[in-house]
Amino acid sequence: MSHLDAIVVLALGTYALRWAGLNLVPRLGAARVRAVVAAILAALVVLGTVTDGTALVVDARLPAVAVAAVLAVRGWPLIAVLVAATATAAVIRALGG
């Protein structure tokens, strides 16, 4: 198998998963969709904050996301929350954290 073969398989397989999700999953009721959305967002938060995909990892992302939580609760615009959280992580890392 060459890289080209592998990437063709990956591209086709990925598209099939995307297409299946959009078209094959039976229409969910509104309540079920809301639960799925909440679950997706929460799972993505955890995955991106305290893991590296295969292990639990605590690093500068955790305080950054904590800052984001506070600002989000206070209703800051999303772009401002992004900048604040990113800056928090950058500063912590610059300081050796």
Binding site: A38, L47, A68
Partner: protein, 244 residues
């Protein structure tokens, strides 16, 4: 962003004088721009990593265009760099993309009436961030508009970033040093907070968070996210039933 104190849950759709829906609002455009910067930076990092691992420049760029899935792309390159056989590297990457089946379930209703081309493009643009931006938007027309903007902006940023990184191949600063890795969970959390509008959603979120964290150390990359989402939905369903 959303007006946390208001009635609308999700991005506020601007309306023209006659009540017809207008373009995507300024707050959302700014948020998409911010996400595009983060996505583009990681695209550049991928371009560097892919070429460094020995994949030809044109194929690194093609991978970003035709696979367009950051987690899977980084996983593939990481695996081959570690000497993993290519078929296994592909399988590992596909596991990470299993999430798209659940994402599709969450936003599929937006594209029921779309033509084949529209649905086809919508499928390709589906990534964590484009789904997150629109999934909490109640107004379906506004959600589709925002999805189009977010989807195109992020795929453009990812592919442009990859091209720059693949051609430069060195001296691209690590996005994590700039805190950009925190941008993604930040966006998801900021979109989740105003969505916590009832016990069922809270249970789903908490269940998913716990299930994801609990399974990450034990399952191959990609599976914990799927298990987490299904766990959250199951928890919400179980507690909802008891209330009935």
């Amino acid at each position: 962003m959303r007006d946390v104190k208001g009635t609308a849950s999700g991005p506020v759709a601007m309306r023209g004088a006659g009540g017809e829906p207008a373009a995507v609002g300024a707050a959302d455009r700014r948020a998409v721009a911010g996400l595009a910067v983060a996505v583009g930076s990681y695209g550049a990092a991928f371009g560097v990593l892919g070429t460094t691992a020995g994949i030809p420049v044109w194929l690194v760029i093609a991978m970003s265009v035709f696979v367009y899935a950051g987690g899977a792309q980084f996983a593939y390159v990481g695996a081959i760099a570690a000497g993993v056989p290519l078929p296994i590297a592909v399988s590992q990457a596909l596991l990470i993309n299993l999430r798209f089946v659940l994402f599709g379930a969450a936003i599929g209703h937006l594209f029921r009436g779309a033509g084949a081309l529209g649905k086809g493009l919508a499928a390709h643009l589906m990534v964590d961030e484009s789904v997150a931006m629109v999934a909490t938007e109640d107004d379906e027309e506004a959600a589709r508009r925002l999805y189009r903007l977010t989807g195109l902006a992020l795929v453009g940023a990812w592919c442009l970033g990859t091209t720059i990184g693949a051609l430069a191949a060195t001296r691209i600063p690590d996005p994590a040093a700039l805190g950009l890795d925190a941008a993604f969970p930040t966006a998801f959390l900021a979109l989740l907070v105003p969505y916590m509008d009832g016990p069922e959603r809270v249970v789903a979120a908490l269940g998913a968070a716990v299930a994801t964290a609990a399974t990450v150390p034990f399952l191959p990359a990609g599976i914990p996210l799927v298990v987490g989402i299904l766990g959250g939905v199951a928890a919400a369903w179980a507690t909802g039933r008891r209330r009935v």
